[in-house]
């Protein structure tokens, strides 16, 4: 059921879950009632187990941590005679300190992520354009190095950006795309590619580009080539790679 999934996905980890419990029960984060919160936390884990959901190991590690803290707080403080000394020195560490520090640290960034989320939404409401091509404008003096202030890493960035950059706004109206690839062209390409590879090629390699149009055209080209019996497709077993091969008369 979807509620279960929502519940699972609702937390980014054990710290997130603990913060939730702290909010829910209006607990002072600097004075966490370890016994109560451990019970709540374990309840949550048990519910998840009953629902037979996978519990990430981090949740179990935190459960163990809570139990350790709980047992430490339950231990008798010290021998009577040491007590006065203890008060004077005040060195005894609260077993909860480390957890509190982590929770507060995590909470800071959880809040920062909310800020980023707001900025992300705000930014998505404004549009920009890609830089215009100014290559037609002549420069008076060409620099000696045509790629001054560019490194190979800029090349990588540029390459990655091609696939990650925001989708370009496009008219929703039908408009003939200028670089439409004719199916015939792609059919010829496929046949020559197969010839070049001794008549065989896996299905995958015929789709080298993550480009929608290219995918569709290639797929249609393959269907057309099968229909005209220029190629055939072979799959030895289920889920195996499909091999595209030229039919005998075309292979020559």
């Amino acid at each position: 059921m979807s509620e279960y999934n929502v519940r699972l996905d609702a937390f980014e980890g054990p710290l997130d879950l603990l913060l939730h419990l702290i909010n829910r029960y209006e607990i002072d984060i600097y004075d966490i009632p370890v016994k109560a919160i451990t019970e709540q936390y374990m309840d949550y884990i048990h519910t998840m187990q009953e629902l037979q959901l996978d519990i990430a190991s981090e949740y179990l590690v935190m459960a163990a941590t809570l139990l350790v803290i709980k047992s430490k707080t339950l231990l008798p403080k010290r021998e009577e005679e040491d007590y006065d000394q203890q008060l004077e020195m005040e060195v005894e560490e609260d077993p909860r300190d480390e957890l509190v520090r982590r929770l507060i640290e995590y909470r800071k960034f959880k809040e920062a992520s909310t800020y980023l989320k707001e900025r992300e939404i705000k930014r998505s409401l404004t549009l920009t354009k890609q830089p215009s091509n100014l290559d037609h404008i002549e420069k008076h003096q060409e620099p000696v190095n045509p790629v001054s202030n560019i490194t190979v890493y800029d090349l990588i960035d540029a390459f990655q950006r091609i696939s990650t950059k925001k989708r370009k706004p496009k008219p929703t109206q039908t408009k003939i795309d200028r670089q439409e690839i004719p199916i015939e062209t792609r059919m010829t390409e496929i046949v020559s590619e197969l010839r070049f590879n001794k008549g065989y090629q896996t299905f995958q390699t015929l789709f080298p580009y993550p480009n929608k149009e290219h995918l569709v055209v290639t797929f249609l080209a393959i269907l057309e080539l099968m229909k005209t019996k220029q190629i055939s497709c072979v799959q030895t077993t289920n889920f195996n790679d499909i091999t595209i091969q030229l039919t005998k008369e075309d292979a020559g």
């Binding site: 609702a10 710290l15 995590y106 909470r107 920062a112 980023l116 409401l125 215009s132 990655q160 950006r161």
Partner: protein
Amino acid sequence: MTTRAEQRAVIEGLLYVVGDEGLEAKQIADVLQIDPIEVEELMQEMKDVYTKRDRGIEIVEIAGGYQFTTKAAHISYYERFLESPTTSSLSQAALETLAIIAYKQPITRTEIEEIRGVKTEKPLQTLSAKLLIKEVGRAEGTGRAILYGTTKDFLEYFGLKSTAELPVLPEKHEEEGDESEADLFFENFESILDPADNKGDEQ
């Protein structure tokens, strides 16, 4: 001699041409052969002009440069025109990871995981693939773990001038009022499981 009106015109043309690549004050100063201080003044004048009702673009400062963007108020018009919705968004895991990197850079994956309390490999991959973070060096010591930092694209993505523009992290804060939607789901769910338990929850 160029008049002030002409200078503004040249800046407008330049901002149009560079688009989302942005334009640094220094570049404007170079082109107009004026003092960077004068650039600031001109930009302020221009920003005011673009706020007018019949203008559809405005000047924003992002990643250390000026650039034109359309106005947020007009997004509903542009959505009619766009092929796909503009709402691409990062997951909560990615946002948390990014927040940690933005404030703590340079930082290793292990350090991030210590703060988040969960594995963070996938969010890091997503953020790298989106060019929002990058390797900025290697940590000292054994293993020489990768150190991550934010990129110019990060500033661009969130419309930030620089990482210094990020708000100061709160140290303390009040205990209520930050229930997320996820929490609401959880509470609804719990009230289904155990209605009696939900009593004390009212604020």
